[in-house]
Amino acid sequence: MPSDRKPPSASPAPRREPPEWADGLKQLYDSVVEEDLPDAFRDLLARLDDIDPKRGSGQGGGSSPSPGGGAAA
């Protein structure tokens, strides 16, 4: 017996509801958010106080120099 609902044949309606993998996308994101922070980040955050913000941004001219690779072609 076929089920009482006919599959919509001609027009594949665009999905309005979140697809079934939508939760997986959040899971991927959240799984990283919930990871323990690697030590490298603790170290970096601890070092920030020693870095003068002014020096990093030059004269406030928008483009901040990338460390180490000035004229990378």
Partner: protein, 204 residues
């Protein structure tokens, strides 16, 4: 009132740092979604933190630190992309977990499949979907982060969803050149997990 040009006080700096610290996990998640490789993603986040710190006087207190730093991360990513540092390589070790199978469907969707499929999307669409579908930003916020119109974001998210849905439904997920190596590693990791009896507890 509070002039933007005024030098920040020590308290301002401390508050800035507190907020910056709080968004680091989100920056890592966004970066991981963008470039796939955990090590490169973390490099990107470190670069972002340094740039954000250097530019802290341009941050408007009271606005979203997450959105502000995402813009910086995004720009750093695009710059690196242009230099070909990232090729969207997929690290299979990231998420070899099984999603709860949707009702009425026999094949569960692997998070690793989802992630790999995500990484095959066009960068603009991937980014839009990450911001809205994973990061929980509104279309308006995402548009601001990407510097484009709200309609553009909506269209990118829609196309990204359609592509992913189709890929996952058909099992039609393009393979990457790193596959052999990565797949091998994933198998080993999965075996480790099985051996440790961890698989049952990875649902949440």
């Amino acid at each position: 009132m509070s002039g933007k040009d005024q030098p920040r006080t020590a308290a301002d700096k401390a508050e800035f740092k507190r907020e910056l610290t709080a968004v680091v996990p989100h920056l890592r998640a966004f970066a991981r979604g963008l470039c796939g490789r955990p090590d490169m993603a973390d490099d990107l986040v470190q670069e972002t933190l340094l740039k954000a710190w250097a530019a802290q006087e341009r941050f408007e207190p009271g606005t979203s630190m997450r959105a502000w730093t995402f813009v910086i991360l995004r720009n750093a990513y695009l710059t690196d992309m242009r230099r070909n540092r990232f090729r969207g390589e997929y690290d299979e070790g990231v998420a070899e977990r099984i999603l709860t199978a949707p009702a009425g469907q026999e094949e569960p969707i692997h998070l690793s499949d989802l992630h790999r499929a995500l990484l095959t999307l066009q960068p603009e669409r991937r980014e839009a979907l990450l911001l809205v579908g994973a990061g929980g930003f509104s279309y308006e916020e995402a548009a601001e982060i990407c510097g484009c119109a709200v309609g553009t974001i909506k269209s990118r998210v829609g196309r990204a969803r359609a592509t992913l849905t189709e890929m996952l439904a058909n099992g039609d997920i393009p393979r990457r050149s790193t596959e052999d190596d990565a797949a091998h590693r994933a198998i080993l990791e999965e075996l480790d997990e099985v051996a440790a009896g961890n698989l049952a507890s990875t649902r949440g």
